[in-house]
C-alpha cells in the first residue's frame, strides 16, 4: 500500500476450468520504475498481463492501480476498453497487433481516439470542420510525428504498418501504446525476435520513456540482456506462482530462479553454481 507503488497485485488467481494458470500471485510495481516479470514458458506471465489489462477477469485477487494524484482504481472491476480509457493502462502484444492495413501515422492517430473523440465533439464538430477540431487534429498529428521521430520511423510514416520490418513494428506498437498517454505501460515480450542491435535500441527507448515521460513500465521479457540492463525490479514466476523477486542482480543469483530456468531441481542447480560456473 506504499504511496509510490503504481500497481499492487494482491493475491491474484486465474483458473481456466481445472487449470490454475496463476495462483495467489502478489507483487508491486513501483511508480516511474521498470518492473520486469520473467519466468519460463508457460509460467503464467501473459495471463497476469491479460488480467491487468482486462482481457481476462481474474478468478480472485485485487489489482490496485494508484494514479499520481492518489486516485485508486481497482482494475479487476473494469473490463476491456475501460482499463485503457479510464485507468490509463496501455499494453502491447506478444504477437504484434498493429492495424496492418493502416499507415504508421494512422496507427498512432487511432491510439489518440478518446482524446480526439472529445475534440471532435463526438464527431459533430468534426463533421462541420470546426476550428477547434482542426487545432486538435493538428496537435494529434504533431504528437504522432514526435513519436515517429523518436522511434526512427518518420520516413516511413505513410507506409502501411503491415509492410514495416519486424523490429520497426515492435517499436511502432510501443509508440502507439504511448500515444494513449498511459500511466502504466505493459509490454509483452517487446524484445522477442529482435537482433542484438535492435534490442539495445529498445532498451534505450524504454529507459527514455521512463525518464522523459515518467511512465511506469511493466514488462514480460525473455531476453535477459534487456531485463538485466533496464529493470529496476524483477519478479520471477514459475507454474503460476512467484518464486523470487528483487533487483536484477539479486534475482540472477537466486538458485530457485536458475533451477526454474534450467528445469533442474534446486540442489542440482546449487551444485551447478557451486562448481563455479
Amino acid at each position: 500500500m506504499s504511496g509510490d507503488h503504481i500497481l499492487s497485485v494482491d493475491r491474484l488467481s486465474m483458473r481456466f476450468g481445472g487449470i490454475v494458470a496463476v495462483n495467489e500471485l502478489s507483487f508491486d510495481a513501483e511508480r516511474r520504475k521498470i518492473t520486469a516479470l520473467i519466468g519460463p514458458n508457460g509460467a503464467g506471465k501473459t495471463t497476469v498481463f491479460n488480467c491487468i489489462t482486462g482481457f481476462y477477469k481474474p478468478t480472485s485477487g485485487v489489482l490496485r492501480l494508484t494514479h499520481d494524484d492518489g486516485h485508486i482504481i481497482q482494475l479487476e472491476r473494469l473490463n476491456d476498453f475501460r482499463i485503457s480509457k479510464l485507468a490509463r493502462v496501455a499494453r502491447t502484444f506478444q504477437n504484434i497487433r498493429l492495424f496492418p492495413g493502416m499507415t504508421a501515422l494512422e496507427n498512432l492517430m487511432v491510439a489518440q481516439h478518446n482524446a480526439l473523440m472529445r475534440a471532435s465533439g463526438l464527431t459533430f464538430l468534426g463533421l462541420i470542420g470546426a476550428p477547434s477540431w482542426r487545432v486538435a487534429e493538428q496537435a494529434a498529428i504533431d504528437l504522432a510525428r514526435t513519436w515517429l521521430e523518436r522511434i526512427g520511423l518518420l520516413d516511413r510514416a505513410d507506409d502501411a504498418a503491415g509492410n514495416l520490418p519486424y523490429g520497426d513494428q515492435r517499436r511502432l506498437e510501443i509508440a502507439r501504446a504511448m500515444c494513449t498517454d498511459p500511466a502504466l505501460l505493459c509490454l509483452d515480450e517487446p524484445a522477442a525476435g529482435l537482433n542484438a542491435r535492435e534490442s539495445a535500441g529498445l532498451s534505450e527507448l524504454l529507459l527514455s520513456i521512463r525518464s522523459d515521460h515518467g511512465t511506469s513500465i511493466l514488462l514480460i521479457e525473455h531476453d535477459m540482456s534487456v531485463v538485466m540492463e533496464i529493470s529496476d525490479h524483477v519478479v520471477v514466476m514459475d507454474y503460476g506462482v512467484k518464486i523470487a523477486e528483487g533487483t536484477p542482480q539479486h534475482v540472477r543469483d537466486d538458485p530457485r530462479v536458475i533451477a526454474a530456468y534450467l528445469g533442474a531441481d534446486e540442489e542440482e542447480a546449487i551444485a551447478v553454481m557451486e562448481r563455479g560456473t
Binding site: G54, S84, R97, F99, P100, M102, A157, D158, A160
Partner: protein
C-alpha cells in the same frame, strides 16, 4: 500467396502445360458430370396437366444441347486458362503503364461525376435511360451506405434491405397517414432506420463473421415477414399505394395551376419530375459520399477501420468497440433509410416484394465487387451490376440465373473487388495507396 496458387490448380500435374489429350479428357469429364446433373432436371420436364395431375415429357434435345455446351465451354475455359496462366499469378506491370493507369484512375472519378451531372441534359428525351440512371444512383447510394458497415467497419451485414424497407415504409406511412411532406419525412426516415440499426446492432455485437451474416439475414427476413403479415398497418402483400411525389420545397411538379411548370411559365412535361428525381438521388448519394469521406478522417471513422483491422488491439487502446460498432450500424442504416424514402417517393407504390434477401445480396455484391471501402469502386460496381442486369432484361427468366453465375465468376476473378487498395486517411508526406493484401476484412 503460394497457398492460393496451388489451391487454384486442380492437381500438381496441372502445372505443366497440358496437352490436347488432357483438355479433351477434362472436357469429357465435365460433359459427363453435366449429363448426370441435367439428366432429370433438364431432360425431363414436369408440369401439372389440366386435371391437376402431374405429368412429364422428355426434352432430350435440350439435354444434348446443354451437355454439348458444357463440353465446348470446358475446352474454351481450359484454353483461356492456358493463355492467361494460373489464377493468382503476380503480373509485373511496366512502370510507365502503371503511372498511366494511376493518372487515368485519378481522372475517372471527376469525369464520371461531370458526366453524371450532364446525364439529364444529354438524355433528356430518353426516359428509359433517365430511369435507369436513377436506379443506378439508388444502388450507388445503398452501396455507399452499406460500405460504411461492411467496407469500413468490417461487419458483415446481409440484412441491409431491412433499413431500406424501414425508410421506405416510414415515408410511405407518414406521408399517407399524416400528410407530412417528403422533406420532413426524409430525415425522419433516416432517423428511424438508424434507430433500427442500433436495435439490430445491440444483440449482435458479440457475434462474428458468418454468425453475424446469418443473424442480419434473419433480421432482414423478420422485417419483411412482419410487413407482409401486419396488414392493418402496412397493407400486407398489397403494399401501399398513392405515396405522394416529392415537391421542390413545397412546389409540386405537376401539370396544375400551382405546379412548377406553371409558375415558371414553361410548358409542363412529365420529364421535369424525372429530372428532378435524378438530381434528388444524385444529391442524396453525394451527401452519403461526402459524409463517409468526412467520417473516415474523423476519429470515429478511423476507429471503424481499426475495428476491421484488429478488434482486440482496439480494446487495448481504450476504444469502446460497442459504441463504435453501433455507430457504424446506425450510420449505414441511416443512409439505407434515406434511400428507402427516395425509393418510395419515386415509385409512388411499395410492397414487401421490393425488399427481399435478393436486394441485400445485390447491394453486398456491389460493395464487395467495388473493393471493400473504396467509394469509387462501389460506384463503378453499382454501374456495372445494375447496368449489366438491365442489359440482360431481354433474357427474362434467365436473368437471375446469369446474375448468380456472374456473382460466382466475379468473385473467382477478383475476390478483392475492382479497386484493390485502400487510401490512407491522413499523411505526412506522400498519399500512397495501401495494397489490399495488407488490409484485413474484419472478423465481424
Amino acid at each position: 500467396m503460394a497457398g492460393r496458387v496451388s489451391a487454384t490448380l486442380a492437381s500438381p500435374q496441372d502445372s505443366r502445360v497440358p496437352g490436347i489429350a488432357f483438355i479433351f479428357k477434362k472436357a469429357l469429364i465435365s460433359a459427363l458430370v453435366a449429363l448426370v446433373l441435367f439428366s432429370l432436371m433438364i431432360g425431363v420436364r414436369t408440369d401439372a396437366g389440366p386435371d391437376g395431375q402431374l405429368t412429364y415429357w422428355t426434352r432430350f434435345g435440350d439435354l444434348a444441347a446443354m451437355v454439348a455446351t458444357v463440353f465446348g465451354g470446358s475446352i474454351v475455359v481450359e484454353l483461356l486458362r492456358q493463355w492467361w496462366g494460373p489464377v493468382g499469378t503476380v503480373r509485373v506491370v511496366p512502370a510507365s503503364v502503371q503511372s498511366g493507369l494511376s493518372l487515368a484512375g485519378r481522372l475517372v472519378a471527376p469525369v464520371l461525376l461531370v458526366f453524371t451531372f450532364l446525364v439529364p441534359v444529354i438524355f433528356y428525351n430518353e426516359r428509359y435511360i433517365l430511369d435507369l440512371a436513377i436506379l443506378v444512383l439508388t444502388y450507388v447510394m445503398l452501396g455507399w451506405g452499406l460500405n460504411v458497415v461492411v467496407g469500413l467497419a468490417g461487419l458483415l451485414d446481409l440484412g441491409y434491405v431491412a433499413f431500406y424497407a424501414v425508410g421506405a415504409y416510414s415515408y410511405a406511412l407518414l406521408a399517407t397517414n399524416f400528410g407530412l411532406s417528403f422533406w420532413v419525412c426524409l430525415p425522419l426516415a433516416g432517423i428511424l432506420a438508424a434507430f433500427w440499426g442500433v436495435l439490430l446492432g445491440f444483440p449482435v455485437l458479440r457475434l462474428r463473421g458468418d454468425y453475424l451474416a446469418i443473424v442480419t439475414l434473419a433480421f432482414g427476413e423478420i422485417i419483411r415477414l412482419v410487413i407482409i403479415n401486419w396488414q392493418s398497418l402496412t397493407g400486407g402483400p398489397n403494399g401501399i399505394t398513392g405515396i405522394p411525389r416529392p415537391t421542390l420545397f413545397g412546389i409540386p411538379l405537376s401539370p396544375g395551376e400551382d405546379g412548377l411548370a406553371a409558375r415558371l411559365g414553361i410548358e409542363f412535361s412529365p420529364t421535369h419530375r424525372i429530372v428532378f428525381l435524378f438530381y434528388l438521388i444524385l444529391a442524396l448519394a453525394l451527401l452519403t459520399n461526402w459524409v463517409t469521406i468526412r467520417l473516415r478522417r474523423l476519429p470515429i471513422g478511423r476507429a471503424w477501420e481499426a475495428l476491421r483491422e484488429d478488434e482486440i488491439a482496439c480494446r487495448a487502446l481504450g476504444i469502446n468497440t460497442t459504441t463504435t460498432k453501433l455507430t457504424a450500424f446506425a450510420t449505414g442504416a441511416m443512409f439505407g433509410g434515406f434511400a428507402g424514402a427516395f425509393f418510395a417517393t419515386r415509385q409512388g407504390f411499395i410492397s414487401p416484394e421490393s425488399f427481399t434477401f435478393h436486394e441485400s445480396a445485390l447491394v453486398l455484391a456491389i460493395v464487395v465487387l467495388g473493393g471493400m471501402g473504396s467509394q469509387l469502386g462501389v460506384a463503378l460496381a453499382a454501374l456495372a451490376m445494375i447496368g449489366g442486369f438491365e442489359l440482360f432484361r431481354g433474357l427474362d427468366q434467365y436473368r437471375m440465373l446469369v446474375f448468380g453465375m456472374a456473382m460466382v465468376l466475379l468473385m473467382i476473378w477478383r475476390p478483392r473487388g475492382l479497386i484493390g487498395h485502400r487510401a490512407p486517411t491522413v499523411f505526412l508526406r506522400h498519399n500512397q495507396a495501401i495494397s489490399a493484401d495488407l488490409v484485413n476484412e474484419g472478423r465481424g
